[in-house]
Structures are given as C-alpha cells and as structure tokens.
C-alpha cells in the first residue's frame, strides 16, 4: 500500500511536469501557456477532475518504448465554468509536441463520450504538432475516432475548439466539425498542408501565419469564429461565451439575472434609418440597444461582415441574433454570409436558442463570382436552416426586404413566429427603379412617365402596408419600442412546441 502510494505520487508528479521544465520554459517563451495552466485558468478554481493521468502510449517502434510520459500529451477531465459542468481536453505541446497517438485519441474520445451522456459541453484546447508519426496508421485511426465522436456529439452538446498552437493536417478536421473555433493571434495556425508542402506542390511561397494564422481564418476563410490577443484573454472570454450556451440539446440556455427593464425605450432608434434610402447605417447599434445591458457577443465579426451573427440575451435568456449589415456591401447576401448565417441558425435551432433576425437586405449579390461560386446552393443553405428551425423566431424588418432575400430572412413563410416591420420597411420583389424599368419598359423613353410610375410603385411597396394587408407581418412597430416588443414576443414563445416530420435527416444543400 505504502509503495503503491509512493509510486502514485511519482506518477502524478511525472504527469504534472509534462515534458519537463525545459520544455515548459520554451512553451512560455513562445507566449503560450502549458496544457495544465490553461485548464486551471479556464475552469473554476479547484474544480478540475482529471482522468487518465496514467495513460501511456503503446508504441514500441523507433525507440518510443524508452520514452513514456504519463498522460501522453493530453490532459483530460471535467470541471465547472461558473458552476456549470464542462468537459475539457488540453493538448500538451511539451510532451511529444502534443502529437496524437492512439492512446492520446482514446483519452479525448472518452471525454466526448462521457460529455454526451452527461449532457455537457466539450471544450478542446488544441496545441499539437499532428499525428504521432512513429505510430503510423494507429494515429490516423485515432483522429478518425475523434471525428466520429465529434459528429455524434454535434447538435447534442456544444463543442468548442480553441486553437492555441499548431493544428495541422488531419488534426484540423476535429475543430472543423465542432461548433465554434477560437484562435490565439500569432501563436496558433491551422492548415491541411503546411507551407513546405504548398511550396513543393503549387510553388506558392507562404508563411504559416499567412497560410493559416488567426487573421487568415477570421478575415479570409471564415474557418475561425474569433481570435484573441493571447491565451489568457482567449480562455477568460471563452468562459464568458459558455455562459450563453445551454449544456445540451435537452435543456434551454441558462438564465442570467438582469435588471435591464423589458420596457426600456430607445428613442434614438427612431432616427437610425437615414432619410436618404441610399445611405447606410450601423445595424450593430440596433442590436446593442435591443439586447440586455448592451451585451452582444459577436462571432466572425471580420468575415462576411455583411451579415452579423452572435449571442445576446433578452430578459436574461440567450438569443441568437442574425442581422444584415447595411454598412457592408449594402447588406446584400452572398456566398460567405449565407454560409455564415446558416450554420449559426442551425446551431441555435439544435440548442433551443431562439433566433432574432434583423432585416435590411437589398437582395443577393449579383455577379459571375457569385454565380460561378454556387450562390444558388449556398443561399439555399440559409433558407434550409431557417425553414427547418423550430425554435422561437422573431423577425424585425427595419428597411429593405427585397426579392428572394426577403423570403430567406426568417420570413413568415418560413415559419417566422412573430414578424415585425418598422415604418421605414419596404418589402417588395425589388427596388423601385429596377421594378419600374421592367414593368413599364415601354415608357422608358419618357422620364415624366417613369417618374410617375416610380412614385406609384413606391406608394404601393415602399411601406409596410402591402405585406401587412396579407398578414405577412404581424405588426408595424415604432423603432423605440423594438426591445419591448421583442421581449413580449419571446416571453410568449417561451414554451413554443413545433416538430418537423420524422426523417433520418434532411438533405441540406451542402
């Protein structure tokens, strides 16, 4: 017994020191924290329950049997964030470069399996050189096992991937399947093939940072949802982010006590939409003035900024917000923004989070780039996502809702529960000028006639009444009452029940 306890202590000590002080120092010099430091910072103090500290790899090739470190490069377990259960794994770059062995993968799988059963989120802290090459196909199998778990967990529990170091090759696909990817600037990168291979194959010269750094993935590719300055900020902000999410698809999002009144009036919103229909305005102002305490957690702010997505709360309960942004590309939907919004809508629907949609959309972006890039299929994703969503859906049209984009943006026809319009709303097949040019083509040479026709068209459609008369919107609301009306609508919808017909799964146009 005494001997066992002594060995236990030794093993624990060995596991805790990871790859040794030298490697820990090097990790710090890179501006990165160690796997255990990250967990300690991320979870509530003293709540971490570690599993599988004694797991070691089984590889005997290339002298690997001489090198064994308990834990095998990943720290796994569970603990709490703000008192709420969360499962976590944290790859240890100081142990074999955080590389993934079969044993390493098994540890991750065990955590994900348990998280599904317990109904709690999984947060993966990725910092790994890739597959443990010495193990060959066993490591690859390990990746696949993890992918399988990620897929089974998808839509059941929230999965968040933090990229806090290298994440390359097969390793990228686990984060890719999870719900959210957060990166750390300058110390993390993600790519399928690294700069060396890229150079050999395509002769492109590119740095790791350019190819897959945080900036690349938050601006250009849209792979990552957010980037943070450093490890500390990333982990503290992820704690805050988790407070928005329900633990699983079996429960609602947590309630967050607030003293922000539901009947808060924001008179400045009455002047948000400019007099000039061609001037833009910042939709974020509306979001900030509608949600509780002006607290909006935006995702992908620098990617496809023509649509805004993120979480806020209404009377203490989480809502997912999807809003067109007139400041960028006039708010027109395109491939990137359709995909961005669609995936977010599906996350909200999977996790019982009501969706608030704020609409000012002049249509889909025209052009060869869009058509050749399959805007048809990508735009359809957003329709699909909204149409299949059964969570409460509240929509406010602030200005333009033109053409197919009107249908897409959580319209009544896609089972929007409550659809409001501001007095400035214009709901039509297209803008007045274009419409008149088509309907009254024969009058094109007569400016006087065209002017009259345009006015006629505007009287008919450049107001909320045409759709109001058909019941496509439920009410015209004053902008300053927007928060109140949304609060009431969501309160009314709290126990909403709606089910789609049984099927194995739908076939979203991927």
């Amino acid at each position: 017994m005494q001997e066992i306890i002594r060995q236990l202590d030794e093993k624990r000590a060995a596991a805790r020191s990871g790859g040794g002080q030298h490697r820990i120092d090097r990790q710090h010099l890179r501006g990165k924290l160690t796997a255990r430091e990250r967990i300690e910072l991320f979870l509530d103090a003293n709540t971490f329950e570690e599993w599988d500290m004694f797991v070691e790899h089984r590889c005997t090739e290339f002298g690997m049997d001489q090198q064994k470190i308990p834990g095998d490069g990943v720290v796994t377990g569970y603990g709490t964030v703000c008192g709420r259960l969360v499962f976590v794994y944290s790859q240890d770059f100081t142990v074999f470069g955080g590389s993934l062995s079969a044993a390493h993968a098994e540890k991750i799988c065990k955590i994900v399996d348990q998280a599904i059963k317990a109904g709690a989120p999984v947060v993966g802290l990725n910092d790994s050189g890739g597959a443990r090459i010495q193990e060959g196909v066993e490591a690859l199998a390990g990746y696949a096992e993890v992918f399988q778990r990620n897929v089974l967990a998808s839509g059941v529990i929230p999965q968040i991937s933090m990229i806090m170091g290298p994440c390359a090759g097969g390793a990228v696909y686990s984060p890719a399947i999870t719900d959210f990817i957060f990166m750390v600037e300058n110390t993390s990168y993600m790519f399928v093939t690294g700069p060396d291979v890229v150079k050999t194959v395509t002769h492109e010269e590119v740095t790791a940072e350019q190819l897959g750094g945080a900036r690349t993935h938050t601006n250009r590719s849209g792979v990552a949802d957010l980037a943070f300055d450093n490890d500390v900020e990333a982990l503290l902000m992820t704690r805050r982010f988790l407070n928005f999410l329900p633990p699983s698809n079996r429960e609602k999002a947590p309630f967050w006590p607030t003293s922000d009144p539901a009947d808060r009036k924001e008179y400045s919103l009455d002047t948000l939409v400019p007099h000039d229909p061609n001037k833009s305005y910042d939709m974020k102002e509306l979001i900030l003035k509608v949600v509780d305490e002006h607290d909006f957690f935006e995702l992908q702010p620098d990617y496809a900024a023509n649509v805004i997505i993120g979480f806020g709360r209404i009377q203490g309960s989480t809502v997912g917000i999807v809003a067109n942004q007139p400041m960028v590309q006039a708010g027109a939907l395109d491939i990137a923004s359709s995909r961005k919004a669609a995936r977010f809508v599906r996350f909200c629907d999977a996790f019982n989070i009501p969706i608030l949609t704020l609409v000012d959309v002049p249509g889909f972006l025209p052009g060869t780039a869009q058509e050749y890039g399959a805007i048809i299929k990508h735009g359809a994703k957003l329709i699909y996502a909204y149409a299949e969503a059964t969570v409460p859906k509240v929509t406010v049209i602030t200005r333009k809702a033109y053409g197919g984009a009107y249908d897409v943006m959580s319209s009544k026809h896609l089972r929007g529960d409550v659809n409001f319009a501001w007095p400035t709303a214009e709901i039509a097949v297209m803008g007045p000028k274009g419409a008149v040019e088509i309907i009254f083509r024969q009058d094109m040479n007569d400016p006087e006639k065209i002017k009259n026709r345009t006015e006629e068209y505007c009287t008919k459609f450049a107001n909320p009444f045409a759709v109001g008369s058909r019941g496509f919107i439920d009410d015209v609301i004053m902008p300053h009452n927007t928060r109140t009306r949304i609060c009431r609508s969501l309160a009314m919808l709290r126990e909403k029940k709606l089910e789609n017909p049984w099927r194995k799964h739908g076939n979203i146009p991927l």
Partner: protein, 669 residues
C-alpha cells in the same frame, strides 16, 4: 414693464443650441416661435422645439441659413413679426437688418448703423477713441504698403500686430517683433485677408504680450437707457476659438471692472446702440485694458452673465426690440457668485482637434439639478452631427457661490456628460478644469497653446487620485462576477463562489486588491495598498456612468467594456484595466506584449463597386477612422475608413473606377 407691446410670433434665423435656447425664452414669454431649417437639419432639435418650422433649402449655409430672401419669405409665410438672428449667420449683417426693416419686420438686435460702424475695425477704433475708450496704441488709418508698415511699426514700437480691417477668427493677423517680420507679415496678412474676406486693408497696432481676453456685456434700449452687466473672462482659447468662459474674471478688481463697464456703455452710446452687445478688451498684466472690438449680437458665452446677474438676455433683447425701455438701472445690477461655461465641440482633441461628424449613438446630459448646472444643447441622442455647420454642439454652464464651487460642479458635470458616436472634447475640458494654472486663475490667452500644444493626450493627464480607477475597476469586476454566480444550471456542490482577492492590471502594472462585500447595506470594501475604501453604488450593468460613494465621497466614472478590458474615464484621464484572479494575473505576465505592426499596407475594395470619392491625397497623413474613400455598390454609399494611423503612400485608383473585390485602392506607408 411700462410698455406692454410685445410680439406674438418671432422667427429664429439660426440652428443648433442657440436656436433652441432662444425658443425656450420665447416660450416662457408666451411668444410663438418659427424655426427655419436646411436639408441636413430636418428633424433637428430646434425644429422639434419650435411651434412652426420652415424649410429654407439645401444643407450648405450659403444656400439656406445665409440667404436673406429665404428668411424674409419664411417670416411672411408664417406671419412672424420679428427675427432673432442668434449668433453667426446673419446676426451682424446690416443689409439683412435693412431688408427686414423694409418689410416691416423687426430685427431683434441693434440698429443697422451700429452694426456697420462696429463691423469695421478701423472705424470702430476711431469711434472708440472719440468716445474716450482706451485703445491699443497704433495707427488707425489703412496702411498702404509694407514700407509704410515698417515705418509705422517703428513709431509704435515692437512688437506690433498687423491686422486685417475685415479680419476675424485669427485670419489676417500677424505678430511682428522686428522689421523683417513686419515686412513679411504685412504681405501675408494682406493676401490672406484678401482671399478670406475679399478686403485686403491692413492696419497696425501695438501687440499686447500675454494678454487676457475680457469682455463687457452691455444692454441698451432705444430710449437712451443702458447698463453694463459685468465682464466675462474668455482667455482660455485655442487658436482664437474660445473654449472656456467665466464670470466674473478672477483677475479684475472692482475699479477696473467699473472703468471697463463705463467705457463700454460710453461706446454703445456713441453709436446709438440698443439691444445686447459685447465690448471686447485685451487686458495686460498690469490691468491696463484696451478696446479690441464690439460684437453687436448675442454672444455664445452669454449664459455666464445670465447666471451671475439673474437676467435673461434673450428676454431683454426681445423686450428692447419690441420698443420697451430697460426695466433696470445700473444700481439694480449685482454680480452674484461665479459662473463657468465649457464649449462642447464635436472634435477630436487627440488628433489636432479635427471636427468629427456622425450619428450620436449615446448622448446623456448631466443632471441640471438645483439650477446650478445648465446645458444649452442643440442635439439629441440619435441626432446627426453634420459636416455643414459649426462643430460646437452644446454649452455646459455651472453656477456656484464662488469660483471653486463653479469649477467643482463643472468637473462633476463633465464626468457625467456621455457622448458616443462622434469624437468630442469632454475629456480635454475635464483636463483643463483640473489644471493647476487654471484652478489658480493665473492664465492668459496663450494658456492652451503653452500647456497642450497641438494635441491632447488623455494618458498624460495626471490622475488626482490614481487609486480611484483601480478601486472602481475592481468593484465593477466584482459586480460582474457576483452576478455571474447567480447563473442558473449550476452543479450542486459546485456553485460558483467568488473569491475576494483580485489583481487589477493597468498600464503594465499589477495591483493586488481585496474586495469584500459587507452586509447589510450591499456595499463593498476594497483594500488596496494598505488603504481601505468603502464603496456604495447602485450601478447596474448597462449604465455608461458608474456613480458611487467612496469613503463618503461621491465619484463618477464613465465605463466602457471591451472584451476583458474596462475603460474608465474621469476628469480627462483614461484608465484601461483588466481584473483577474491572482493566478490568471501571474499567467498573464507570461503573455507577450504585442506590437501593433500587423497593420495592413493596402486599402482594398471590400466589394465590387464604383469608386465615387477619394477623400485623401498622396502624402497626406491620416488617423485611424478617417474617411479614405467612398464606394458605391448596390446603389449604396460605403465609406472606407483608415484602419490605422499612417500616411497615404500611393493612390492606385481614380474616382469613377469600377472596382473588383480586393482591388487595391491605395497604399499606406
């Protein structure tokens, strides 16, 4: 009032705060008001406040507010019997006065000849001399050429001021300390005046070094009655633009005050003045005062006189214009207490005080309790600061028993003044209010230039008590943490308990604090650097103002939250602080300090579209947020702004170009 004639309806030929301020008094006098507005002012505050409003044309003032025919047509259309011109625009335009008179409409202001006489610097100086008013030693005739200028300067004695007759706002003015400067100054002032005012006439006078700018308010009726209402100290100026005014001046003694007042009244009489007017003086360090000019209108800074005399100057102006004699005599006028005014500008003190425009997303005024704080504002939350007009958006005025009280109320009011959406000078004003030299009352018109130069930097402001922002950041964080501890769905036995020990990280320094809640009053005690702070606050999470009682003292901070950083603003100072557990703070030390070198080198088109405007030229230096170009796409204008400070190295496109996505528009260096 001995005479009861009064207007039933007046038109206010102005906009912004002064139009609103005049409407207030007219309403109190039961006079109906008519506002006029340009395109840009559709829905402006003065339009909302007036009983009627008349649209007078496009946004630029020369197409609307300055078009006399349109103002007169608006009067006729609405039946307004009189026009109050406010300040600026048509307020000192004798042609306008005459046109109104021809139409039988009363001008609420002085008679046209008085405006003409005082509008010319040489004429006014001659009249002043004749009326026994002290004038600056100098030459009152037009100086024909540079050689003559040198000759005259030698007679007066250097330094001299070379001034355009039609000058104003610092234009057409040059100081010369010697012959060479005099030669050059003459040419420059003359050509500047010619291009700015269409009048190149120049005169020369003695340059008063380190002067103060002090002015006397007078009131005169059309029956020969006139009084002076004491002085206003207006020495705190930036580039000849007044920033802070106060009454009375901390510098004048009673004898000087009386002498200045009497001379001001004498000058008014000399031109048969009626209405409110202001005689401006420069005062040297020995309290010698010299006539500068007379402003024949209501001044921006008139509220400080109102608060110290208890008179409503607009009311007096209206009564006088209606033909009533003054109801007060010089003996009735008492100067009580001290009043101070800060001009709130939409401008960016951090980048050369450039005007800022845009939408006011947040605009919360300080509370006007006890009638000791007054805000004359012309804008409202959700309103727009347009590019067309003066960037002054409001005046913040305080009143106290003495200068100390007025100043301290001003500091509090500034701290409570929340403006978001446009850049503003609130922080700069707060810094001025805390400057020891300002507090001492020992300053001249050179004060701002000497103490701040061209740019203002909030980090340089010395915090009066550097512990306060640390304590407040700790409290705010603790409030957030305590609330988060009430989140639903917590595991039994794992309920979040918030610890008491925290570390505030600010300016690279780590400060350990202990924050404990104390019962039963719901306050917190903060121990910081061995000192205890008891904090009571009813702050709730959405409020931009943190008000609290710290050790019995009321304090107020403006709070913003960016990620894990709290930004605290108070009295011109700015503190960015992160609050975390000691463990997190220790780990934070390991985080590399980031240099901001990742700035993009190019401005690229974010969308396909038409380039309709380039707002910069090659070689121009820019600040983050500056407008660089406008792209029209989907028939919408999209403004592209500078992502960071820098300089324009190269412009690769031209207006009218059709741009592809990611096409380089210009290069930064």
């Amino acid at each position: 009032m001995t005479n009861n004639t009064m207007f039933s309806k007046i038109l206010i030929a102005n906009r912004g705060e002064i139009a609103c301020r005049i409407i207030k008094t007219a309403k109190a006098m039961s006079i109906c008001t008519v506002a006029v507005y340009s395109d840009a002012d559709r829905g402006a505050l003065h339009v909302q406040m007036a009983d009627e409003a008349v649209h007078i044309g496009p946004s630029p003032a020369f197409e609307s507010y300055l078009v006399m025919e349109k103002i007169i047509a608006a009067c006729k259309q609405t039946g307004a019997q009189a026009v109050h011109p406010g300040y600026g625009f048509l307020s000192e335009n004798s042609t306008f006065c005459q046109m109104l008179a021809d139409e039988g409409i009363v001008f609420i202001g002085p008679p046209a000849p008085a405006i003409t006489a005082m509008g010319d610097k040489i004429t006014s100086k001659k009249i002043a001399l004749k009326a026994g008013v002290n004038t600056i030693p100098g030459h009152t005739e037009e100086v024909p050429n540079a050689e003559e200028a040198v000759h005259i300067a030698a007679q007066i004695g250097y330094p001299v001021m070379i001034k355009a007759t039609a000058g104003g706002g610092g234009k057409g003015m040059r100081v010369a300390h010697n012959e060479a400067q005099c030669l050059e100054g003459f040419e420059r002032a003359s050509s500047e005046a010619l291009s700015s005012f269409g009048d190149g006439r120049i005169f020369i006078e003695k340059f008063i070094e380190n002067p103060r700018h002090i002015e006397i308010q007078i009131l005169a009726d059309s029956h020969g009655g006139s009084v002076y209402l004491g002085e206003r100290e207006c020495s705190i100026q930036r580039r000849h633009q007044k920033v802070i005014e106060e009454a009375p001046s901390p510098f004048l003694d009673d004898a000087t005050r009386k002498a200045m007042g009497e001379q001001a009244v004498a000058l008014g009489k000399a031109v048969d003045y009626s209405s409110a007017g202001t005689v401006e003086f420069v005062v040297d360090k020995n309290r010698n005062f010299y006539f500068l000019e007379m402003n024949t209108r209501l001044q921006v800074e008139h509220p400080v006189t109102e608060l110290t005399t208890g008179l409503d100057l607009v009311e007096e102006m209206i009564k006088i214009a209606a033909g009533n004699p003054l109801s007060i005599t010089q003996e009735d006028i008492k100067i009580n207490g001290c009043s101070m005014e800060c001009r709130v500008y939409a401008e960016d003190p951090f980048s050369g005080f450039l005007p800022s425009t845009g939408r006011l997303t947040r605009y919360c005024l300080p509370s006007e309790e006890n009638e000791k704080v007054r805000v004359d504002t012309g804008v409202f939350e959700g309103g727009e600061i347009s590019i067309y007009y003066d960037p002054m958006i409001a005046k913040l005025v305080t009143y106290g028993e003495d200068r100390e009280e007025a100043t301290s109320l001003m500091r509090e009011a500034l701290d409570e003044y929340v403006i978001r959406g446009v850049k503003h000078n609130i922080g700069f004003l707060g810094a001025l209010m805390n400057h020891p030299k300002f507090i001492s009352g020992d300053f001249t018109t050179n004060f701002i230039a000497q103490e701040y130069g061209e740019d203002f930097n909030a980090e340089d402001v010395i915090q009066q008590d550097p512990a306060l922002p640390i304590v407040v950041a700790a409290i705010i964080h603790r409030l957030y943490m305590d609330r988060a501890a009430h989140l639903s769905g917590q595991l039994q036995g794992y309920e979040r308990r918030v610890q008491d020990n925290w570390v505030v990280i600010s300016g690279g320094e780590h400060y350990e604090v202990l924050v404990t809640p104390f019962q039963p009053d719901g306050g917190y005690r903060v121990i910081y650097q061995g000192k205890s702070y008891s904090v009571l606050t009813d702050w709730s999470f959405c409020q931009p103002l943190f008000r609290g009682n710290i050790n019995g003292r009321q304090i107020c901070f403006q709070v913003e939250r960016y990620g894990i950083t709290y930004r605290l603003l108070r009295m011109g100072g700015r503190t960015d602080a992160k609050v975390m557990t000691p463990l997190a703070a220790d780990l934070h030390r390991l985080m590399p300090l980031r240099e901001e070198n990742s700035n993009s080198q190019f401005l690229q088109a974010p969308m396909p579209g038409l380039l309709i405007k380039l707002s910069v030229v090659e070689g121009q230096s820019i600040r983050a947020g500056d407008e660089l170009a406008i792209i029209e796409a989907m028939k919408m204008e999209n403004i592209l702004r500078a992502p960071h400070d820098g300089m324009i190295k190269k412009i690769s496109t031209q207006v009218g170009d059709s741009l592809n996505v990611d096409q380089v528009i210009l290069e930064f260096s």
